[in-house]
Symmetry: C2
Subunit: 322 residues, 2 copies
DNA sequence: TTGTAAGCGTTATCAT
DNA sequence: ATGATAACGCTTACAA
């Protein structure tokens, strides 16, 4: 029998092939241990049913959860997901995008480190941006509502009675102004709180950084009664440094972090933290990409904003009475 | 000019092509924005310079670190690494291995969930096993020395004066007897300590599981003065449950965990834990695979055993005096 | 329903 | 050094 019949059996589960012949072919496939060469198939059809998920740091548990969401959604449509890890390295990021293109991946989900809107467009591969970064107007994007989460956090602290609220920011790989900083400034301005530059410190994205940031804030003549930290690692660093210095938490100092990592739940008391919809971000991003793949010219880029949840735990309370 | 010359320029950086012609070709490539179709290239050459790293749980930080080791080593040789996540799901594991084969990945690094030696052999793709699991005699493997690490940990506790040492094991996805259990039993037998089955409890691999395990041990008529836990999550669960019950740590109870995750370092006091050579495991595994790819019949499978380090921190001390 | 043949974009072989 | 040509393993008109 001919190649075409075999191909038909493999492609359409046997549409347009006589039942008897189909059986015979399938038996032969089993017996010979034949596996179809997807490379050749893809070369012919120009689609691979493969998408790339390109992230800067596989070590970050946030991305791991997102990856699972992407995978689950893609799996349902028969796509496979390959993760690639750029390690905040521009060279690697470009290399992976090139690989995706050269190996004819059908699409790519990316949390970009360096590549900009135009370069990504020039790469000529359907892409969805993970995270609502500025500067990618021509792409679908999915991210969580950092701005709103800061608002909610600062609102929580304010309603507890805090007036002087510190901000410990981590140093970014990217240039653009972080949304959380913007949100903090807006909140302070609008709420008529003391907007004091010395309440904002920037430190490395590490536990030590958090500790250093807190120490700096405590040395102020009029130190804050609460601190919002850019993520949980910083918050934990601040927490431990404060306790080391004999500061009662939350009695004398309130702390809020971001990400709701595992470690945040095991401090004593457990850390109040902003929880992001990690898994759902992955699912939604996958959905957007799948729609683009199905319908090549789908019109304007869509931006999906997913809500965060403030998990109020043990590190926030009323400020001390004077 | 002909396809062949272009191909030569791309393949060998221009060996066997006149300088002038090479320049002209490269200019044309730039101008036309040509990107070589790796699919077609791979179809012809039967190699992709792609390897798959297949792990059961991308959410586990241990694997994330290992992945970085793999990637760094592979990158040096011009290979790209695609991560795949089987999610402890047998179907997915098989599907990914099939994908790797069908898309002609050059090799695969795998921490197997279900697939056994023979099935993996039948898949017909060069493979290296991550972790020294029993049952893969025909494959190269890299793992850490769990047996020795248990020995060292129990030795540490014994030298502090502990005689009754509990063991909190997590429930496995795999069937085989866990090395750490074997090591515990051997140590107890050989050291002439009390070998008491009631000192061994098995619980789900969660924080709650660790807490439950500890409670169970404390209800014994002659409870242990120290507990070795199968990993840090369990250890932290046990730690918090013990403290909740008013038990002084390490004064009244010593605790050791395994993995040295971030959270282990931030308990008060910080957790004594077995640290595994995660990154190095990845590097070594990549090395073994690269050697196999270079030299197809390399002889007998090699097993690489990497040492763990016991990080003695704050949760181990002498047992209470009677 | 089935088979024939062209073609996907490369690389390898062989003349020139 | 260069170019023509076959082949890699598949899919898909088109013809039978």
């Amino acid at each position: 029998m001919s190649k075409s019949s075999v191909s038909r059996v493999l492609a359409n589960e046997g549409v347009g092939v006589a039942e008897a012949k189909r059986k015979r072919i399938q038996r032969a496939i089993k017996q010979l241990g034949y596996v179809r060469n997807e490379l050749a198939s893809s070369l012919r059809t120009d689609r691979t049913k493969l998408v790339m998920l390109l992230i800067p740091d596989i070590t970050n548990p946030t991305w791991a959860e997102t990856a699972r969401g992407v995978q689950d959604a893609m799996d349902e449509e028969g796509y496979d997901v390959m993760f690639a890890n750029s390690d905040w390295n521009e060279r690697r990021e470009l290399a992976f995008i090139a690989k995706a293109k050269q190996n004819r991946f059908d699409g790519i989900l990316i949390n970009p480190v360096q590549i900009d809107n135009d370069a990504l467009l020039a790469a000529g591969i359907p892409a969805v941006i993970l995270g609502l970064l500025k500067g990618y107007p021509q792409f679908d994007a999915v991210g969580s509502d950092n701005y709103a989460s800061v608002n909610e956090s600062l609102g929580h602290l304010t309603s507890l009675g805090h007036r002087r609220i510190g901000l410990i920011m981590g140093m970014r790989h990217r240039k653009s102004t972080p949304t959380r900083l913007t949100a903090y400034l807006d909140f302070m301005r609008e709420s008529g709180n003391s907007l004091d530059d010395s309440l904002i410190v920037t430190v490395p994205f590490t536990q030590e950084g958090g500790g250093k940031g807190l120490k700096q804030l405590r040395e102020l003549s009029d130190p804050p009664t609460a601190v919002f930290c850019d993520n949980d690692i910083l918050a934990i660093g601040a927490f431990l440094a404060a306790r080391e210095a004999g500061v009662q938490i939350p009695g004398e100092l309130s702390i809020i972090g971001v990400d709701d990592i595992f470690a945040a739940s095991i401090t004593t008391p457990p850390l109040t933290s902003v929880s992001k919809p990690k898994y759902e971000t992955g699912r939604q991003a996958a959905r957007l990409l799948l729609e683009r793949l199905r319908d090549h010219d789908l019109g304007l880029p869509r931006k999906v904003l997913l809500p965060c949840t403030l998990k109020i735990r043990g590190t926030t309370a009323e400020p001390p009475h004077r």
